[in-house]
């Protein structure tokens, strides 16, 4: 579903990604962990070209993102994204947040969009909030709306960049619950997270990143119980 070959990314003369190779299969849940500044967000953002790639190859669902002929807006409709800060549209009601892209990009009718989006709100347990504005929701509710908004485009895969890091601890669970449900339904997911419990329970594979490279990867049990690299051990000791 996603193939990354020797991915490099520099900001000015700061090389943030130093050659990343990675393959993500359909329905796989890949969790990325690593210290702050290691390039996790940058890696994730390269997967839907929110950051232009400066070297190497990223192929998403058969589209080569380096190819200037690739319609990047097309690719993005297949790749949902959830941000740490939710980034809901504050001037639109919850339901309108969900409906906007299906209407304007997929060009589906208002009625169909409304029906589809209301179902998604039900799925994340927020159908009763459809006509409220995002500001009146708690952080956890806002993030669930953001997940539903991404799902409204019926993407083939979802990217999550620390989706629970901006939340009060007591609100983390409800968001992880929704993500877990998605994973169980077979969604392909790429999740940058500090929630080791989630990575362990839901992840099919864990990548440990440090200083712009993938230092170690494997099934969660192996990474968490029997890490091979010193850097992984050190990192896990610090956070666990």
């Amino acid at each position: 579903m996603i193939t990354v070959k020797d991915l490099h990314k520099t900001f000015g003369d700061n090389e943030v990604l130093k050659g990343i190779d990675c393959e993500i299969e359909p329905s796989e849940v890949v969790c990325v962990i690593g210290p702050s500044g290691s390039g996790k967000s940058t890696f994730l953002r390269c997967l839907n070209m929110l950051e232009p790639v400066t070297g190497g190859e990223v192929i998403v669902d058969g589209y080569n993102l380096n190819d200037p002929k690739t319609d990047i807006n097309m690719v993005r409709t297949e790749v949902g994204m959830v941000f740490q800060q939710f980034n809901l549209f504050p001037h639109k009601k919850v339901i309108e947040n969900l409906m906007l892209a299906p209407q304007k990009v997929r060009k589906i009718s208002d009625d169909e969009a409304h029906e589809r989006c209301l179902k998604l709100l039900e799925k994340v347990g927020l159908a009763d909030k459809a006509d409220q504005y995002p500001q009146s929701l708690s952080g956890g509710q806002q993030q669930r709306v953001a997940i539903a908004r991404a799902l409204a485009m019926e993407p083939k895969m979802m990217l999550f960049d620390e989706p629970t890091s901006a939340l009060d601890p007591e609100l983390v669970g409800e968001v992880l619950e929704v993500m877990k449900q998605l994973a169980n339904e077979g969604m392909t997911m790429f999740v940058v997270t500090h929630e080791m419990g989630f990575a362990r329970e839901v992840g099919d594979r864990v990548l440990f990143m440090d200083e712009g490279v993938i230092v170690e990867e494997g099934v969660p049990d192996q990474i968490f119980s029997n890490p091979q690299s010193e850097r992984t051990k050190e990192f896990l000791n610090k956070i666990l």
Partner: protein
């Protein structure tokens, strides 16, 4: 002292002052509508990715902001016709002056408002597959517009007051009429006071309308 003045006599000159008011409003409204369009174009132009477009916008904005309105008015009425080879009526020239002048300041207001919207909004829009234009139109612009209202109101008031300078290029607006009347009838106190009250009435009405609008958009 006040009693020395013939306030009731002002009524005789109301029709002429109303003509002046008509031109003041005409030039303000038409000029500001065009100015708003120019401001939108050059404000977004200034932050456009194309170097050419943003440079053109910067040049326009800096020229206007760096020269006095009075000089702009005189240049457009007396100098521009010699360059383009056609006379400009004073009202047309007046509208051009207000449009070009307010356009530059509104461009800066538009730019500031658009840039004040969190970067995450553009990213969220783009990540959903909306293109740049769609994201601007449906997500950035509506939020930026709300923030533009207070500074826009300010600029509208400044531009309305600036129309009084157009009397030097013979636009028959309020103060132009006032000076005509006062010169012939020796009633400077009555007439100029009345003129001032007219301006105040326009600007206060505008302030009031904008405040209501702001409050309505807040919810």
């Amino acid at each position: 002292m006040i009693g020395r003045f013939n306030w009731a006599g002002v009524i005789d000159f109301l029709p002429q002052l109303m003509t002046g008011l008509y031109y003041t409003l005409l030039i303000s409204i038409v000029g500001l509508v065009i100015g708003f369009i120019l401001g939108g174009i050059f404000g977004l132009g200034r932050i456009a990715q194309s170097k050419v477009i943003s440079s053109i916008s910067v040049v326009y904005i800096e020229i206007i902001r760096g020269t006095p309105v009075l000089v702009q008015a005189i240049w457009i009425y007396y100098a521009l016709p010699l360059i383009i080879g056609t006379e400009l009526g004073s009202v047309t020239a007046g509208i051009i002056v207000i449009a070009l002048n307010s356009g530059a300041y509104i461009a800066e207001i538009v730019r500031g408002a658009v840039q004040s919207i969190d970067k995450g909004q553009m990213e969220a829009g783009r990540s959903l597959g909306l293109n740049h234009g769609q994201t601007m139109r449906y997500i950035i612009w509506p939020q930026a517009f709300k923030r533009m209202i207070p500074p826009l109101g300010n600029q509208f008031i400044i531009s309305i007051k600036d129309t009084s300078l157009l009397s030097v290029i013979l636009v028959p607006e309020l103060i132009f009429q006032g000076r005509l009347i006062a010169a012939n009838h020796f009633n400077a106190v009555e007439i100029y006071t009345t003129v001032a009250v007219f301006y105040l009435a326009i600007t206060l009405t505008l302030s009031f309308v904008l405040q209501r609008m702001e409050r309505r958009l807040e919810t």
